[in-house]
């Protein structure tokens, strides 16, 4: 009886929060999430921070630990200005993909907001981090914090030993290549443990000890100048260096002839950080959609069970609708597609299709339309997709109509945009694949790879930019970035723009001309 009475009581009242309330709310939310949504989460660590600390966290890319670099200071000044001027609010929370999952709560939040944030971050994001295949395969949630701790200490020690300027110049150069510093197609090597690093060092020492200069004096094979032989040598060379290589930072770290060991380690740190964030960028819609769907569902369940008051629910809904607000393209507030809104709508759409499908839905989604087990479908989608494949798989005509999506073709040399597809029978599939494609990170950013270098010759590093749809690189930033690459490589670097379809060379830029 008593427990019944307590159960129907409100979890909290008023807007002030304290740790007892937070804990009570968390337990309740977790119970619902595990029972009703069958989520599977890392243990949670909630940290209450002030707004200044939130700003601090912003500037260090949301991580609790980060090495020092001036660019973070620049971002801090920028964020702080926006915040102080009231141009931008702060996030209510930051959640870190680590084990245990760390959730930052702002102290300024009201209790209702804290409940919302708990459901959103501590359950929604947490589940996604733990279960999505990208995060499972590509990031090491257990090791990231200790790695960052190592990185911070290592870079600080380097600064002490080699001077700020020397470390800064390496970091600047490496930061410029962060976008090109991830493995997109094969898994990154695991963060090596201390032991493995030790082993590597020993092996290098052994190689140095057993080096024999005599091998170098062997006469070269004959017929070196025949064209076939040259091709063969070229192929051999590329093979030995594993070319072409899309991860420029990795290539430079392993093969640069001018980097000292500590510089290699610094490059490596930047590369590891870039790789760590790569899955997050590929799953923005899904990640936010998952978290938003979870908080929306849980909060409504709590309200239906009478565990939160109408006032609190109203506040929660107001914030929720702010978050998922999607203005039309002609609205002055429009700034692209809101991932929260798209994610939530798609997931609710899946729920609808599972339980109350129309004939059209049965046509489009025979796998799960009308099966009724929307939880299973969602859990499966969260675990096995990224934004691009998720949209490809699940964006329904009903949703396209609801959003009134359309595709605008934009040729740089034409004075007009052309409306390519709209929400009609002919357009659904085109819109769907265009939207999915726009979330393909690999397609969105310039595709640049190392194609050749003659280590025994002039050591000229040749990069190739595979130009898609005629989209070239911005000249100014390209030259500046090339200079950074030259700093890491030590010798001249050239970048050739090659049309991905025709293979025609569109232009070449070398650091010699800079």
């Amino acid at each position: 009886m008593a427990s019944q009475a307590r159960k129907s009581a409100l979890l909290f009242s008023g807007s002030d929060w304290d740790f007892a309330k937070l804990s009570r709310v968390y337990d309740e939310i977790e119970a619902i999430a595990l029972e009703e949504l069958r989520l599977d989460i890392y243990p949670v660590q909630m940290e209450v921070i002030s707004s200044e600390q939130m700003l601090d966290a912003y500037s260090s890319v949301g991580m609790p630990l980060m090495y020092r670099h001036w660019s973070f200071g620049k971002h801090f000044i920028y964020d702080e200005l926006l915040y102080r001027k009231g141009a931008r609010g702060l996030a209510y929370e930051i959640v870190i993909n680590s084990n245990p999952c760390i959730v930052y709560l702002m102290e300024e939040n009201t209790m209702a907001l804290q409940a919302l944030v708990t459901a959103h971050a501590a359950l929604g994001h947490n589940h996604f981090f733990k279960n999505n295949h990208l995060f499972r395969q590509w990031t090491d949630a257990g090791g990231i914090l200790s790695y960052l701790d190592f990185a911070k200490g290592y870079i600080a020690r380097c600064e002490e030993r080699h001077g700020l300027a020397a470390v800064e110049s390496i970091l600047d150069a490496a930061h410029a290549l962060m976008e090109q510093g991830v493995f997109r197609y094969h898994r990154p090597p695991k963060l090596s443990s201390e032991q493995q690093r030790e082993g590597l060092r020993e092996r290098l020492e052994y190689e140095e000890r057993s080096f024999n200069d005599l091998w170098r004096t062997l006469p070269p094979s004959s017929g070196k100048n025949k064209p076939e032989a040259r091709d063969e040598i070229l192929a051999e060379r590329k093979k030995s260096l594993n070319l072409p290589e899309e991860n420029l930072l990795y290539f430079l770290e392993k093969n640069s002839l001018v980097l000292e060991p500590w510089q290699r380690e610094v490059v490596r740190i930047v590369r590891v950080v870039a790789q760590y964030f790569y899955p997050q960028r590929q799953t923005q819609v899904m990640n936010e959609g998952c978290a938003t769907f979870v908080h929306y569902t849980i909060m409504n369940l709590l309200f239906d069970r009478g565990r939160i008051s109408e006032g609190a629910m109203l506040e929660i809904l107001r914030n929720h609708s702010n978050v998922v607000f999607q203005p039309g393209f002609d609205d002055p507030r429009f700034s692209g597609i809101n991932p929260y809104a798209l994610g939530l709508d798609m997931m609710q759409d899946i729920q609808r299709i599972s339980t109350a499908p129309t004939a059209e839905d049965r046509d489009w989604f025979p796998d799960f339309a009308g099966r009724g087990d929307w939880r299973e479908t969602l859990l499966d989608a969260w675990a096995n997709h990224r934004d691009e494949s998720f949209i490809h798989q699940y964006l329904s005509p009903a949703l396209i109509r609801k959003w009134r999506l359309f595709v605008l073709a934009d040729g740089a040399d034409e004075p007009h945009y052309q409306v390519a597809s709209i929400h009609n029978e002919r357009g659904y599939r085109k819109i769907r694949s265009a939207l999915a494609h726009s979330y393909e990170i690999g397609a969105k950013r310039p595709d640049i790879e190392v194609v050749d270098v003659d280590l025994l010759g002039d050591r000229h590093l040749r990069l190739q930019h595979n130009v898609k749809n005629g989209i070239l690189l911005d000249g100014e930033s390209r030259d500046a970035t090339l200079r950074h690459i030259r700093r890491l490589w030590g010798y001249d670097v050239s970048l050739a723009a090659v049309d991905a379809e025709t293979g025609a060379v569109l232009g070449e830029r070398s650091t010699k001309d800079l």
């Binding site: 200071g73 000044i77 976008e179 709209i422 070239l472």
Partner: protein, 437 residues
């Protein structure tokens, strides 16, 4: 049950180190900004916070990025109202479909100004003046303060407890809450002991039980009402009071005849700013008087002083006379510390130099704490003149004064780094400002 950690009390300025690195990176640009500020603003304006635009040079973070004006793209947009497939839509001018803006790239960045603290501003200002570190430190120091008793406070350091006041509060509270006194308790105990010593009977027994209860009640009450409670404690309160310092007046004298160009004025201005900084540190109140002269001298406001040119000959003594007149009129030497800084290119009417010597020697140097003269020369000339005795007529004349008066300083300057040595003596003489009581 999750783990909760309250991080609010953790140190806040985690990104301070990053900020410093950023400022260092943008040093040149910020320095130029502050220099422009000095050039355009008033002498007394430098010594505070300044908002500056976020510097861009050297702080770009280039990456490979797509050129906006090439290739074919597709935009997927929500909210179609009237378009049909195949419709042509004119492009908005200025390139539509702008993505999220990153710091350092947007047009509107000019609006973004961030605030440099006073210290950071001074650091940038001192940069090429080549001041010794100790001087920099004392110039950055705000007025020294002395703690002065100012009543009582309910919180403070244990060393500042005011025992008298605390005990008085405690006493009052004990009376108000009727805390049993020790004497009362002892009397009661005595009474019980007396009764117990007597042969027991029912009546005394009853009495003893009652008394014991009473005793018990009193002791409990004594325990509950503390003798000295935290609410009683009072601390001595101290207010920082600025050191009682006299006032100073600073005379800026400058030749504004045509021969003083932009560069000369800029150097002179820095010279004045530095002296002013020094005076504001040392004196509670500092006033500045600007006197400019050609063949006649006039007191003017700061703007006129630096920005209006006037044609005419050069008669330096007129400025000294004007200064003397103002001192007589407004700044009696008994109440004011008088400092003077004169900047000139050394030109003077040949016969006038004698008069200058006389004015300084007889009258002004007796009134002034310090008189600094800088002669601004061309950088090419600096090799020739160096420290040779010969020079312009004014230089030779002042040389005579210099030898007689230790508080007179003169110097030829060609670059900002030359300014400080003029003041070396002055800064060396200063009492230790950093010692606070």
């Amino acid at each position: 049950m999750p783990i909760f950690i309250d991080r609010r009390l953790n140190p806040k300025d985690k990104s301070l180190g990053n900020r410093q690195r950023f400022l260092k990176r943008a040093r040149e640009e910020l320095k130029r900004n502050i220099r422009d500020r000095v050039r355009a603003g008033g002498i007394a304006d430098l010594d505070r916070e300044h908002a500056v635009p976020i510097p861009r040079k050297g702080t770009g973070e280039p990456t490979f990025s797509d050129a906006k004006d090439s290739g074919r793209r597709q935009h997927i947009l929500p909210g179609n109202k009237s378009f049909n497939a195949g419709d042509l839509v004119p492009k908005p001018s200025g390139g539509g479909g702008a993505g999220a803006s990153a710091p350092g790239t947007t047009e509107s960045e000019d609006d973004f100004r961030f605030v440099l603290s006073r210290e950071e501003v001074l650091d940038l200002f001192f940069e090429d003046l080549e001041l010794p570190d100790l001087v920099k430190l004392s110039l950055k120091q705000i007025l020294s303060f002395k703690p002065k008793r100012a009543g009582f406070a309910a919180s403070g350091a244990p060393t500042n407890i005011n025992v008298g006041r605390t005990m008085r509060n405690s006493h009052g509270r004990r009376i108000a809450l009727r805390r049993p006194k020790r004497a009362e308790v002892e009397a009661l105990a005595q009474q019980i002991a007396d009764l117990e010593a007597k042969p027991p009977n029912a009546k005394t027994h009853e009495r003893i039980v009652a008394l014991r209860e009473e005793l018990d009640r009193l002791e409990r009450r004594r325990r509950r009402i503390a003798y000295v409670d935290p609410v009683d404690i009072r601390f001595n309160r101290f207010d920082p009071q600025p050191r009682p310092n006299a006032s100073a007046v600073m005379f800026c004298l400058m030749d504004v005849s045509g021969s003083m160009g932009e560069r000369e004025k800029d150097l002179a201005k820095r010279f004045f700013v530095l002296l002013h900084l020094f005076l504001t540190r040392r004196y509670e109140r500092t006033e500045i008087v600007f006197i400019r002269h050609t063949h006649e001298a006039k007191e003017v406001d700061e703007h006129t002083f630096f920005y209006h040119t006037q044609s005419g000959g050069t008669v330096v003594s007129t400025a000294l006379e004007e200064m003397h007149r103002i001192i007589e009129e407004r700044y009696p030497a008994s109440e004011w510390n008088i400092y003077a800084a004169q900047a000139s290119d050394g030109d003077n009417f040949a016969t006038d130099s004698e008069r200058c010597i006389e004015l300084l020697d007889r009258r002004l140097m007796r009134l002034c704490q310090y008189f600094a003269y800088v002669e601004i020369i061309d950088e090419r000339e600096s090799h020739i003149f160096g420290s040779t005795e010969n020079g312009t007529s004014l230089w030779r004349a002042y040389n005579a004064v210099d030898q007689k008066w230790p508080s007179f300083q003169m110097r030829r300057i060609a670059a900002p780094a030359d300014i400080y040595p003029v003041f070396r003596e002055l800064f060396a003489r200063q009492p230790d400002l950093r010692k606070s009581a």
